[in-house]
Subunit: 263 residues, 2 copies
């Protein structure tokens, strides 16, 4: 039997449910985190718990549990279901202040995604409160669905100023010469893997520039890539069906390697 | 025992729940309607079912039930719980395509709200896909919570251009001389009661002007008001703690009367 956690208590996964009459459910008033268990160890646990707390604070949910408590529950669930490599999801439902932990298989991607790059589409829209991981995700849902219908892997969000902020489940970067461009912090999710990408840039002596990449300039860069917990750093080969430069694909793969080892 | 409906089947209300692992739940991928039962009759049932279908279409959920089916289920629930005056909520969960109907007491407001008007606050933000009633409501939640903390009744949303679009659960209007101003359709929820307000304007020979009301001009109007299924037409007496004109309060109450009878 697959398990889940509700407020520290081990339950059957099918009991991890919420009434449709709950106000927080009706208003998407909740925050979440997704984190990996790799060879029996939680990857960047502190960073994920810190961000959970920040997301909660950002929409004024009082997270009443300590990091110690939450990590002990992650361990409890790991042991109960004998897990070694898996992705865990923490959901904190606001107002009623209910914390769930569930788990699922970790996604992995074929090598070709890294060697050849992935196809992306563009979608106009701005995430509400982009720094926080809230359940108010309808834009991301529709954008990703649109991408998948077009046979693409990810949708990149374009804001009112015409620049790419982030993907629906990834951060976005562009390389040009020895510079790495990424949108300013205020516009995007502060991805845990993004911290690793920045760290890699430092080690590789690549200068990080917090400047937006405009859609109109997207063909002027040497390489584009996205990052996330499951993707690491993944090169982009086309945007809206038009090929982009992969001149520095090797460097993107070095970022990916670094982020993989940094785990 | 209080009941609910799930896909046409009468269930106990506490069984009206959804797993937290459901993708639609995690992405706020659902639409809803709230409608009144008054003296045993559903008020503007056709308009609500039409809007439910429009909301579903708007975010590409295929509503697989007919209006006939849904209205027979509303009747089933009404009979099962012997209801006469009540508010029903229809929730259509996308992707999995699950339809719930639940019910709750209809809200009513003291006469003083109509005679003296209510206090409103301003909140900057734009609803994503404002024409559709989706569950992607975090902005509305936070805006209303902010209003209530300040002792106000409703928050009015202000868009990037500096004009008031709508309230978190109401439409917004301003009267000046013989003209009624309200935001263009593309910016707001197409409220069922708003249709009634427009109809009232026609009957009262008031000219409807689909032009936005800018925050900076809010003191230049004769009266401001909001409308919704539960509020009818309700005058505003202050915005962000500063009194606004109620010179035409009597006309606002005529709108309220008309909308009440139009039910």
């Amino acid at each position: 039997m697959k398990h889940a956690i509700r407020d520290g208590v081990l339950i059957a996964e099918e009991e991890a449910s919420l009434p449709v009459t709950l106000r927080s459910m009706q208003y998407a008033y909740s925050v979440y985190e997704a984190l990996k268990l790799k060879n029996g160890e939680f990857v960047h646990l502190d960073e994920h718990l810190y961000r959970l707390r920040e997301s909660a604070r950002g929409i004024r949910i009082n997270l009443r549990y300590t990091d110690m408590e939450i990590s002990s529950w992650l361990d409890l669930l790991k042991e109960a279901d004998s897990l070694v490599n898996e992705t865990f999801r923490i959901l904190l439902v606001g107002n009623e202040n209910i914390l769930f932990i569930t788990h699922d298989k970790t996604r992995s991607y074929p090598d070709s995604y890294y060697m050849e790059g992935v196809d992306c589409t563009l979608y106009e829209g701005e995430r509400f409160l982009p720094n926080y991981k809230t359940s108010n995700l309808l834009l991301s849902y529709l954008a990703l669905e649109d991408a998948e219908e077009k046979g693409a892997f990810e949708a990149l969000l374009v804001n009112r100023h015409g620049y790419i902020t982030e993907g629906t489940r990834s951060n976005f970067y562009a390389l040009k010469g020895n510079r790495l461009y990424t949108a300013p912090d205020r516009d995007v999710l502060l991805g845990v893997t993004r911290i690793g990408v920045m760290e890699a840039a430092r080690v590789m002596n690549v200068e990080v520039v917090y400047e937006p990449v405009y859609v109109k300039d997207v063909y002027d860069y040497d390489s584009l890539f996205i990052s996330s917990t499951s993707m690491k750093a993944m090169p982009i080969r086309s945007i809206n069906g038009v090929s982009v430069s992969r001149r520095m694909n090797t460097m993107v793969l070095r970022f990916s390697d670094y982020v993989g080892k940094w785990e």
